[in-house]
């Protein structure tokens, strides 16, 4: 099944998402900040990246920009899950395939991931709202 990279500084969130997404059959890799996430994404080439906004070393926005700028990684859809930056992120449909406002229903995430992994790389540019 598909591979997801989950990036969030809050370990309570990454712990839950790892458990939850693995139970759904996904292969999950976790990073705690944007910089180590970029390296990890380069290594494992996931199908979707789910990232937080506020993180040390490199923010979710900076990560999405770095990915978009990379010829090898630019096709990977990036979902932003944020407690406060939702509105600002929705203005960047070029960077984020979708934006989730925390707290969001886990079922919503599953539905979104299904769409993005089934649609392949075509979800980039379509900003899906919660």
């Amino acid at each position: 099944m598909a591979t997801i990279v989950v990036v969030d500084d809050e370990s309570l969130i990454t712990d839950f998402l790892s458990f939850f997404l693995r139970a759904e059959g996904y292969t999950v890799h976790v990073a705690r900040d944007g910089r180590s996430a970029l390296e990890l994404i380069g290594e494992v080439r996931p199908d979707v990246v789910l990232t937080d906004y506020m993180m040390p070393a490199m923010s979710g926005l900076e990560l999405a920009q770095a990915l978009r700028a990379s010829p090898k990684l630019g096709h990977i859809p990036v979902v932003l899950a944020s407690a406060a930056q939702g509105a600002a992120a929705r203005l960047r449909g070029d960077l984020f395939a979708a934006v989730l406002d925390k707290p969001y229903a886990p079922a919503r995430l599953i539905a979104l991931l299904r769409e993005l992994t089934q649609a392949g790389g075509n979800a980039v540019g379509g900003a899906l709202e919660r």
């Binding site: 500084d9 309570l12 969130i13 993180m55 070393a57 944020s82 406060a84 930056q85 925390k102 707290p103």
Partner: protein
């Protein structure tokens, strides 16, 4: 070394006052309090105030509630501005870093972030976790010292939030520049919140406990009145002029009236006429020399109707700007908050005559009864200094020396003048009588004067003779 201290404006009402001017930029502080005491609210309130002043804040949580839960709670408070989150204030969780890599790694990440973001205020929520992660007190001391050192060099102010019991011997306590302790206690049936500046290196703070409360604006601190007003803000003149008490015969007996800017206690049992005396005193207010009624008993509407029975039109006085009526019910008040409310109103309206009805309102609001004398001393001194002639009613069981002394001998000595009210019977009728017990700098005739309020109707059941001023030998 730079000797000038830059103070930060917290915009937390009352806080900068007790800190001797405010937090010192580049210094580090511990904010300590049990969960629920308000540390997180206080830290965020300060953070948003700093953000509004153009600063960049880094808010680090170790093991705490999720950030989205935090924002949800903060969004109920007026100071929270969602647009500033992620822009001026960045919230990061570094618990995993601490757990897996330890304290030094945490310091490294913080150094990088402080530089990367141009942070001028660092808030670290969860110092207790840092302490529990360490193998020795030296580790914690090193952690605090390294962080503090880096921050001081870059002019960054640090706030460490902790729920651990910090005392003078804790390693963290010795390292930081200041310690603020927030305490929430159950006293009787009330939750009482008080804070104290337990350490304040290099700056004089207002010691002891100060009440604070949390409402939708965030935290408000009320400096302990007798600490802030240890001396009145101006010199007291003790002018020679007299202010009419409202009862001509009484004025006549006490050298023309009450000494201007003095404080008078009107004492007596219930029904003896204290409130009526007060209303009659206020009746002489004008828009140029306005009055304030600061009461704890009758609501403004009831006071109005009581006054109407005495043929005193309070509503007209209010409409003309001659009178303001403020009412605080005798429920759970914070005594210092009452005092500041009173003093602010007096200043704002340039009040000349004040009636406080009654002393019990302050007495019952002092959670620590021992404070009452010092509190009243500070309040009456300040009122005198700002040229207010004050009348304060005080309900006692009976008007006798043993009864007054039993209540509190020191209280009466804080007042320049004391007038006793009592119910007397003569010619088959009951009268409200006034007895002068003490008048500052005056001789007076030690007789009881009837309280005659001109044109009062007999609606309260007490008959009054039509002739004013007959002395009743007591």
């Amino acid at each position: 070394m730079n000797h000038t201290l830059t103070r930060l404006t917290s915009h937390v009402p009352g806080l900068d006052t007790i800190l001797g001017g405010g937090l010192i930029a580049g210094s580090s502080y511990i904010i300590q309090g049990r969960p629920g005491a308000g540390k997180t609210i206080l830290a965020n309130q300060i953070a948003f105030a700093q953000a509004r002043q153009g600063a960049k804040i880094l808010y680090i949580t170790l093991l705490a509630e999720s950030h989205d839960r935090l924002f949800q709670s903060l969004s109920m408070l007026n100071f929270y501005e969602a647009e500033r989150v992620g822009k001026d204030i960045t919230y990061l969780s570094l618990f995993r870093t601490l757990r897996l890599e330890g304290l030094s790694a945490l310091v490294d990440v913080l150094r990088t972030e402080l530089a990367r973001q141009g942070t001028s205020m660092l808030i670290l929520d969860g110092l207790l976790n840092a302490r529990e992660s360490s193998h020795s007190t030296l580790d914690v001391k090193t952690f605090v010292a390294e962080l503090q050192g880096h921050a001081a060099f870059s002019g960054c102010t640090v706030l460490f939030l902790t729920s651990a019991r910090i005392d003078d011997s804790s390693p963290e306590h010795t390292m930081v520049d200041g310690v603020l302790q927030l305490e929430e206690e159950l006293i009787g049936s009330r939750t009482v919140r008080r804070l104290r500046v337990a350490k304040s290196r290099g700056s004089a703070s207002l010691g002891g406990l100060h009440h604070y409360e949390i409402h939708d604006g965030g935290i408000v601190v009320y400096a302990r009145l007798e600490a802030l007003f240890a001396r009145p803000s101006k010199a007291d003149h003790a002018p020679d002029t007299r202010v009419s008490s409202g009862v001509a015969d009484l004025d006549h007996r006490i050298g023309g009236g009450l000494p201007a800017s003095s404080a008078t206690a009107v004492v007596g049992p219930g029904g003896s006429g204290k409130t009526s005396f007060g209303l009659n005193f206020l009746r002489q207010a004008t828009p140029e020399k306005p009055a304030l009624h600061f009461g704890f008993y009758e609501t403004p509407a009831r006071l109005s109707s009581k006054a109407r029975a005495l043929d005193i039109d309070i509503d007209a006085l209010i409409a003309s700007g001659a009178l303001t009526v403020m009412w605080n019910p005798l429920t759970e008040n914070i005594v210092d908050a009452l005092a500041y409310q009173l003093l602010e109103a007096v200043q704002a309206r340039r009040v000349d005559r004040l009636v406080i009805d009654g002393l019990a309102g302050f007495a019952r609001a002092t959670v620590d009864e021992h404070r009452l004398i010092e509190f009243l001393a500070a309040l009456t001194n300040q009122l005198r200094a700002i040229d207010v002639t004050t009348l304060c009613t005080w309900e006692t069981r009976e008007l006798s020396a043993p009864s007054l002394n039993a209540a509190s001998p020191e209280v009466l000595s804080l007042f320049d003048n004391v007038i006793g009210m009592q119910l007397d019977e003569a010619d088959g009728m009951i009268y409200q009588g006034m007895k002068v017990i003490k008048i500052r700098d005056s001789a007076f005739a030690p007789t009881v004067t009837k309280l005659i309020i001109p044109n009062a109707t007999a609606s309260d059941g007490f008959a009054r003779p039509s002739i004013a001023g007959d002395a009743i030998e007591s």
